[in-house]
């Protein structure tokens, strides 16, 4: 089998056309630039090139943002009284560890507790969170998780929706009835409860869980559209022609029809990305957020929830603005893509 014939690629000319249309659209290009910038950031942080040290507590708690001078240092000189273990009253009880501890203390005298004199910054570019971690670095690191969650979950949702939609729309009959029933059941359950239920089933909290929650709840929209597309296309004459030519079901479904729904899929994909990046915030609010060693915009916004009244606005601003910018850019890009890929819109 050779490549050109079995894997129908996008029509280079259609694709070129779409690109050409995109390039002409200034706002579209700007948003593409922004999206690429964010993706670059998240790839950079994923590979550890940037924001690797986001969890270092480099500043004092809630260090305010400063754009001029970030070099002021503050020495935390809380001296802690150290009570020698020997002075502690055991009330006549025996400590099985005292022998070991005595040895250790002989080898490394413990009485000089290292004074906590780490130098910490008092100001930071975008301020610091409650642990003194840089909000700027967290925002960058958060982009990695948020974009990854958004992308992978959107891919999962879109794949499920596409495959099921294709099967239902193409075969019709009982396959359609069954899948439609499944769809109806899923859409009839309140979204909120569905989230809780799926979260409870998965029961393991982590980025994967978030991706699965979003993916498993988000496929319905794709399913509906793809099913409709397949219903439309399976009656199209090019499909009948393929049938007359002796093409198998598989071939008709995936090699003939699928490429013709790419524009729908692509647009759904990016709509899902946007939706899921936003949903992650709500999931964090409901307690299904990312684990502690990971930072995401949702977890930042949730932390920031109580900070605004304290007058600490920078974390809210950092994560909120980054998210707003990316999501806006992505949505605009989606719109542009939709127009550019829509065969109906003639330039």
């Amino acid at each position: 089998m050779n490549h050109t014939t079995t894997s129908p690629s996008f029509s280079p000319s259609l694709w070129n056309l779409a690109c050409a249309r995109l390039v002409r659209d200034k706002i579209g290009m700007l948003s593409l630039g922004i999206v690429l910038f964010f993706i670059l950031l998240s790839v950079g942080s994923f590979t550890g090139l940037i924001a690797q040290n986001w969890d270092e507590e480099i500043a004092v708690n809630y260090a305010p943002p400063s754009f001029l001078d970030t070099s002021k240092e503050h020495t935390d000189t809380v001296s802690r009284p150290v009570i020698a273990r020997q002075q502690i009253n055991l009330y006549g009880l025996h400590d099985p560890l005292s022998a070991v501890l005595n040895q250790i203390e002989l080898a490394h005298p413990q009485d000089t507790m290292p004074p906590n004199d780490e130098k910490k910054l008092t100001h930071l570019l975008l301020g610091a969170d409650k642990w003194g971690r840089s909000v700027a670095l967290k925002t960058i690191k958060g982009s990695e998780t948020s974009i990854m969650v958004g992308l992978i979950a959107a891919i999962v949702a879109t794949c499920i929706g596409t495959v099921l939609g294709a099967l239902a729309g193409y075969f019709g009959g009982w396959v359609d009835d069954l899948l439609n029933w499944f769809y109806n059941v899923f859409t009839a359950i309140p979204y909120l409860l569905l989230i809780f239920a799926i979260a409870a089933v998965l029961n393991q909290k982590g980025v994967t869980t978030i991706i699965l929650i979003l993916g498993l709840t988000g496929w319905t929209g794709v399913f509906r559209l793809i099913r409709a597309e397949y219903l439309k296309h399976r009656q199209r004459e090019y499909v009948l022609a393929a049938k007359a030519m002796g093409a198998s079901h598989y071939r008709r479904m995936f090699i003939h029809i699928l490429p013709n729904t790419f524009h729908v899929i692509l647009v759904q994909l990016s709509i899902n990305v946007v939706g899921f990046i936003k949903s992650e915030v709500i999931l964090s609010f409901l307690g299904f957020g990312v684990p502690v060693d990971v930072v995401s915009w949702g977890s930042m916004l949730n932390e920031a929830q109580n900070e605004l009244v304290l007058g600490i606005w920078w974390q809210l601003l950092g994560a909120g603005a980054a998210m707003a910018i990316l999501v806006t850019a992505f949505s605009v890009l989606t719109d542009t893509l939709r127009d550019a890929l829509d065969p109906k819109v003639v330039a």
Binding site: D95, L97, K205, F288, D293
Partner: protein, 569 residues
């Protein structure tokens, strides 16, 4: 011309669960019930440490027979609030009602969360409960030898054994006296028909949103006459003494779950009293003082140590952390040594907590303020200890079991944002000593289930006093309480024997000495490290008179007054 209505506006952080005292388990509901129902005893408003005083009882009970027989005499002329069930007649509270109230706790249908306060304690009552479980019907007419109605106003309670804490049980709002005909009339829906003898009764009630309490017209004549030697109380005493209870016409309670909303409401004057959540302390406090801006507005601050502790426990039956071998003890101690409570107090609790090493908090009988912890924050020593015990670091920098097996701490938390902070603390701590952190997040009911099944490896738990006695805390590690609330599943016969000894003792120096040993033994075995006690900061609007935070009483609204002129201002 009628005086303006005095309305106290308050918020609750969680929705009420319905007002049948026997079924109540949460503090918010208890706070409301405290105003509607009256138990036999209560705590003095001003006295610190807290002191039991009579409420429905005429005087303090007469305790005889080594704390086994308690004779209560009721006040006369105490009436339930009006209800259609009474058909327009005034219904007086009698000894029979007290007996009925107590019996209800053993009725399996009521599934009372506070059953433990009378369970196995009253002669003949358990048998009645057992029989009800079999027959499905609780016989309230049965004669219970332990609840001897001596006269219309006298009840003699016979306990199965010595219990000096029984008085505390009789001061709980859940033991507020109810009338049998009311309960039976509203059977199945008692939670929405509270009828008690307290100063207030339910007015308007929008479930889960707002509850308004209005004066009980049948409330007896009672005047404010608390005394105290504390100089800071004198102003309250001066302004309140001699006033009729209650002064406030209506208590308006709103359920506000998000603390930002509650705080902003208070600032706008929509709320009169606001318990500051820890994370908001920096905006209202500088050091221990109210911020000058708030002070200028006349807002008052009262502070109080909560009779509660937070404590880390490690499950002694956990396959990785449990066991009583020296290695495992060392492992647990090292883990507990790696936790920096000071940092937690500073960053998470915003300074509104302090390091408390003793399992019995301040304000509770048996507390020891000089107790020093054996387990101190010392990651260096913890590391040395782990090295010495053979928990070697692998190539990834994390330690393994001496036998090469995997080593990690599965740390259980709930789903709130505060729990995320706790996870962060724990993760940082474990990183200091090179042990893997594994997070387990569960809904609160699931945590409790897991704890009771000894499946929680480690957790930061907290315990708030049900009644101000050390026993309420120490029982948390009692071996037979495994699968109940001994979540560390600690079973040490030496410890258990010492504990059983304390149960037979009243609050005394002798008991305090044993408590110290118990506390130390917990540390030696690396089962628990008591972490903090918290400071409760309450903000009060300038027009609220007579407010003093009480460590045990869930609400004291009937003791307050409002300066309506100032409020209007």
């Amino acid at each position: 011309e009628a005086a303006p209505l005095k309305v106290l506006h308050l918020s609750l952080s969680a929705a009420e669960t319905g007002f049948d005292p026997v079924m109540t388990s949460d503090l918010n509901t208890a706070a409301i019930e405290e105003q509607i129902f009256e138990p036999l005893l209560t705590y003095d408003y001003l006295a610190r440490p807290v002191k039991l005083v009579p409420r429905l009882a005429q005087g303090m009970p007469v305790i005889t027979d080594h704390g086994k027989t308690w004779l209560f005499t009721l006040k006369k002329g105490v009436y339930f609030s009006p209800d259609p069930v009474f058909k327009g007649k005034r219904r007086e509270v009698r000894a029979q009602d007290v007996a009925y109230t107590i019996m209800r706790f053993m009725d399996p249908k009521n599934r009372s969360p506070y059953k433990f306060l009378v369970d196995h304690k009253i002669v003949g009552l358990d048998q009645l409960g057992e029989r009800a479980k079999q027959t499905g019907h609780f016989d309230y007419d049965a004669n219970v030898p332990g609840l001897e109605v001596v006269g219309p106003y006298q009840l003699k309670i016979h306990l199965t054994g010595t219990d000096y804490n029984f008085g505390h049980a009789m001061a709980q709002p859940m033991f507020g006296i109810v009338a049998r005909e009311v309960i039976e009339n509203y059977a199945g829906d008692t939670a929405s028909h509270p009828v008690g003898s307290g100063p207030y009764m339910i007015g308007k009630w929008i479930r889960s949103a707002s509850i308004s309490l209005i004066k009980n017209p049948n409330f007896r004549d009672e005047v404010w006459q608390f005394t105290s030697t504390d100089p800071s109380d004198q102003d309250i005493i001066r302004r309140m003494t001699g006033k009729k209870i209650p002064q406030i016409d209506e208590v308006d309670l709103q359920i506000v779950e998000e603390s930002q909303s509650a705080y902003l409401s208070f600032l706008k004057g929509e709320l009169d009293v606001f318990g500051v959540p820890g994370q908001f302390a920096p905006i209202v406090l500088s050091g221990n003082q109210l911020k000058p801006k708030l002070k200028e507005q006349g807002i008052q601050l009262t502070r109080l140590v909560d009779p509660a502790i937070t404590y880390y426990f490690i499950n002694i039956q956990d396959p990785i952390l449990g066991g009583m071998s020296v290695q495992r003890i060392a492992l647990r101690r090292a883990i507990l040594m790696s936790i920096n409570d000071e940092e937690m107090i500073r960053v998470i609790y915003k300074g509104q907590a302090f390091r408390e090493a003793f399992p019995i908090p301040e304000g509770v009988n048996g507390h020891d303020q000089h107790y020093q912890s054996l387990i101190q924050y010392n990651p260096k020593e913890a590391n040395d200890l782990l090295d010495a015990m053979g928990f070697m670091r692998g190539s990834d920098g994390y330690r393994r079991q001496p036998d090469g097996g995997p080593l990690y701490v599965k740390y259980t938390t709930s789903l709130t944002s505060q729990d995320r902070d706790l996870e962060e603390i724990m993760k940082k701590s474990l990183d200091r000593i090179g042990i893997h952190f594994v997070s387990e997040k569960l809904k609160f009911p699931e945590i409790i289930r897991a704890e009771r099944q000894c499946r929680v490896a480690m957790r930061l738990s907290s315990w708030i006093a049900d009644y101000p006695d050390g026993d309420n805390f120490m029982q948390l590690w009692y071996g037979p309480h495994t699968h109940e609330n001994n979540a560390s599943c600690y079973q040490n016969s030496q410890w258990d024997k010492l504990y059983e000894k304390t149960e037979m003792l009243p609050d005394s120096p002798e008991r305090d000495d044993i408590y110290k040993q118990l506390a130390r033994l917990l540390e030696i075995d690396g089962v628990t490290k008591v972490s903090t006690s918290h400071i409760r900061n309450v903000l009060i609007q300038p027009w609220v008179i007579g407010y003093k935070a009480h460590p045990i009483l869930p609400s004291t609204w009937s003791y307050l007054d409002i300066d309506t002129k100032q409020e209007a201002h």
